[in-house]
């Protein structure tokens, strides 16, 4: 447990010192998700049907925006080297970093999402579903993103490659996350969607850190 907590603590302290980075991602999400109603016009039925999808896509892009910084600074200043040489398992240190990334990006997005949902005329029940879906889905974005960030570490133009690598992997989260809200607005239960999102979360919690650690070791060689 200490293996995970030590990097969470460190990265949250760093995020606190580099508040501009965190706020940029947060406001990107808010602005991107708020632009759509302005673009497509104030038609309530249309907005209501596309709301969840737009919020999810904005969350995906916001997560992506901050991913290339996940390991880049540690790589440049040598702290990543020290992590790889720690007796603690690198996979758990990487898991801590991904969780810290989620706390600094995914969690704030989840908390502000209902406010944005209101712009789209989502009902109270739909907003609740949206929040639960985001709570289950955004950690997956950080965990999968960690693999992409580790694979593109040290590459020139890694940012665009990172997007190409990671966005297709985000599709299941997007489909089931937005689907949960749609089924609730359609009068159905979102339980099945939640189960699948939960399963995705558990799967990535176990596998993504291992893949990230392997990619980091290759990047350091």
């Amino acid at each position: 447990m200490e293996d995970i907590i030590c990097t969470i603590k460190r990265d949250l302290l760093l995020a606190l010192r580099r508040r501009a980075d965190v706020l940029t991602v947060f406001f990107f999400f808010v602005v991107a998700a708020s632009l759509f109603p302005l673009g497509v016009g104030p038609e309530t039925a249309l907005l209501r049907s596309m709301g969840a999808g737009v919020i999810w896509v904005s969350a995906l892009l916001a997560a992506l925006l901050s991913l290339n910084r996940l390991f880049a600074a540690d790589y440049a200043d040598g702290t990543l080297e020290q992590m790889a040489l720690s007796p603690r398992p690198l996979a758990l240190l990487a898991l801590g970093k991904a969780l810290a990334h989620w706390m600094a990006t995914g969690l704030p997005l989840t908390l502000i999402a209902p406010l944005i949902g209101v712009q789209y005329g989502l009902s109270g029940e739909a907003l609740e579903t949206l929040m639960i879906a985001l709570l289950l889905g955004t950690p997956v974005l950080s965990l999968i993103g960690g693999i992409g960030a580790a694979l593109t570490l040290g590459l020139r133009g890694g940012g665009a490659l990172l997007a190409l690598l990671v966005l297709p992997l985000y599709i299941p989260v997007l489909v089931f996350g937005a689907g949960a809200v749609e089924s609730v607005t359609g009068g159905l239960s979102a339980e099945a969607h939640f189960s699948i999102l939960g399963a995705l979360l558990l799967l990535t919690l176990v596998l993504a850190p291992l893949a990230t650690a392997a990619a980091l070791r290759i990047a350091l060689e």
């Binding site: 010192r17 040598g78 702290t79 080297e81 720690s86 007796p87 240190l93």
Partner: protein, 202 residues
């Protein structure tokens, strides 16, 4: 006891060295020399296990370091070209985080004492970005002291250091060796410490 057995290092198409063997016992220092680009840093990274050798093996206490990674990491500290110092954090926070990540038990007082030892008393609470290159190197040296590992692998430890700091490194190294520690290092500057083994790389 550190042993290298016929190590080979290949970078891209080029072979940097082949069939490199040595053995280093308790209290001994190994100096790697050779021109720029001859593979000194590659050898150090290979010894500490960041990159695997193309062929050959590194052994620590008679065991291959690949099979006993956790144990080896506890017994070894590496100081590379990069200091591993976060610009946003103060030296105190840097060392607190670095020791936590490396699973080293070091209290506030121990860390302050280490910073004092490397001549950074009074700079403990200053963000590292306000420190000079040499002062950041001193923070990295403080980490070396806190790790209390028997094996030190140092890549150009004297880079960016002033005369007093070079003397400090010599003093610290001599004390480390006297306590039975091992050190492997590269440097382009003269170093006033007894050298037991010297290997020319390349």
């Amino acid at each position: 006891m550190l042993e290298a057995i016929s190590l080979q290092c290949v970078r891209g198409e080029r072979e940097l060295f082949n069939n490199l063997s040595f053995s280093l016992g308790s209290g001994q220092m190994l100096l790697l020399s050779g021109p720029n680009g001859s593979g000194k840093t590659s050898l150090l990274r290979l010894l500490c296990g960041i990159s695997p050798p193309a062929s050959g093996e590194v052994r620590w206490q008679g065991e291959s370091v690949r099979s006993r990674r956790g144990e080896y990491c506890r017994g070894m500290t590496y100081l590379g070209h990069h200091n591993g110092v976060k610009e946003e954090l103060t030296p105190l926070e840097n060392l607190r985080m670095a020791t936590a990540v490396a699973d080293i038990v070091a209290g506030e007082d121990t860390i302050r004492a280490a910073l004092d030892r490397v001549g950074l008393a009074g700079y403990e609470e200053l963000p590292a970005k306000q420190l000079s290159q040499g002062q950041k190197r001193r923070v990295a040296l403080a980490r070396l002291l806190l790790a209390r590992a028997p094996l030190w692998i140092l890549d150009e430890p004297l880079a960016a250091l002033d005369v007093q700091a070079v003397a400090l490194v010599e003093e610290v190294l001599a004390a480390h060796l006297a306590e039975g520690g091992l050190a492997v290092l590269t440097t382009h500057q003269p170093l006033n410490v007894r050298i037991d083994v010297e290997i020319r790389v390349g």
